[in-house]
Symmetry: C2
């Protein structure tokens, strides 16, 4: 399973693509940051961001997209930009028929460190370890996007294992009637 | 000048297209609401909204898009949906190279009623009057989208008049050097 993780933002949007499957080692496919200039108008920025995400999807062909779920933050103008950038990422995936999942920052942190309140260094350390990288991913901001992608691989993995167990218990016909296979 | 006004929302997105020019009567081209179901996932909703706006742009070919500028509101989950829907509308316009402007609710209200604190009935009454409609626009929510479009026509008009005055004063060559013509 190949997952594109997106840590949405207008000025810096973290993107990371990871290959993984239940019980198998994870593999880094791509990591980076899509930047747009605060000097440009919002339309230009959103379209540039869209182009960057589209290109990455074309190049890496993920099976799913995981976007950070935006919550209210202290700074309202930041929330707006994050929500707008997130909407573009979600639409890029959904337009191609890719499953799009939203995970909270806590879920992503908990997935890679075991704690939903882990700090940035801890997340970067674990992402580096889990992907067996020689050095922390650069730019540092993109570690969050990789954590999201890993979070999704493992959640998908857990769901796939449950699914497999159900299929073994009841037979595939029953499973298909439920329309739960993918 | 033909303007598409968008009052962004996920469940109900008001859209209104108006023809107008400085000192000329306004004309209603199209008005409506694009709805998406709260039961659907966010990806499906954003892509449906995008499709609705794309179709309207195809049908009516506006010269510009005016989107309501989202501010912090009481209900955070509403703000998120509004920001996400607004991002889709902005991207739809910008992707086609259309100028996209953001106007605040107060600016739109002030444009059609003279007061930035006018209530919904006042806005609907004035939109109905200014567009010389036999009855208030339906659905009522779309009146805000029409007010935004009218606001933009008139602001554009004022800018165009200033521009024309500048051109008369300094000659078109100067104007073109400034790259201000459109």
């Amino acid at each position: 399973m190949r997952v594109l993780g997106v840590d949405p933002g207008l000025t810096r949007c973290g993107v990371g693509v990871v290959d993984g499957a239940p019980g198998k080692p994870l593999r880094l496919v791509s990591v980076g940051v899509i930047r747009t200039s605060p000097d440009d108008d919002i339309g230009t920025r959103l379209v540039e961001l869209e182009r960057g995400i589209e290109e990455l999807i074309e190049q890496t062909r993920p099976d799913a997209v995981a976007v950070e779920r935006v919550f209210s933050q202290h700074n309202v103008s930041t929330v707006m930009g994050t929500a707008q950038a997130g909407a573009i990422a979600i639409a890029c995936g959904a337009r191609r028929g890719l499953p799009v999942a939203l995970h909270t920052p806590s879920e992503a942190k908990a997935a890679v460190t075991g704690s939903g309140r882990a700090d940035k260094l801890q997340v970067t350390t674990m992402v580096t370890r889990l992907l067996r990288l020689d050095a922390p991913p650069k730019p540092a901001d993109a570690a969050d996007a990789l954590a999201l992608a890993i979070c999704h691989v493992w959640r998908g993995g857990a769901q796939a294992r449950l699914q497999a167990a159900r299929t073994r218990a009841t037979g595939p016909a029953h499973d298909m009637r439920q329309g739960r296979t993918r």
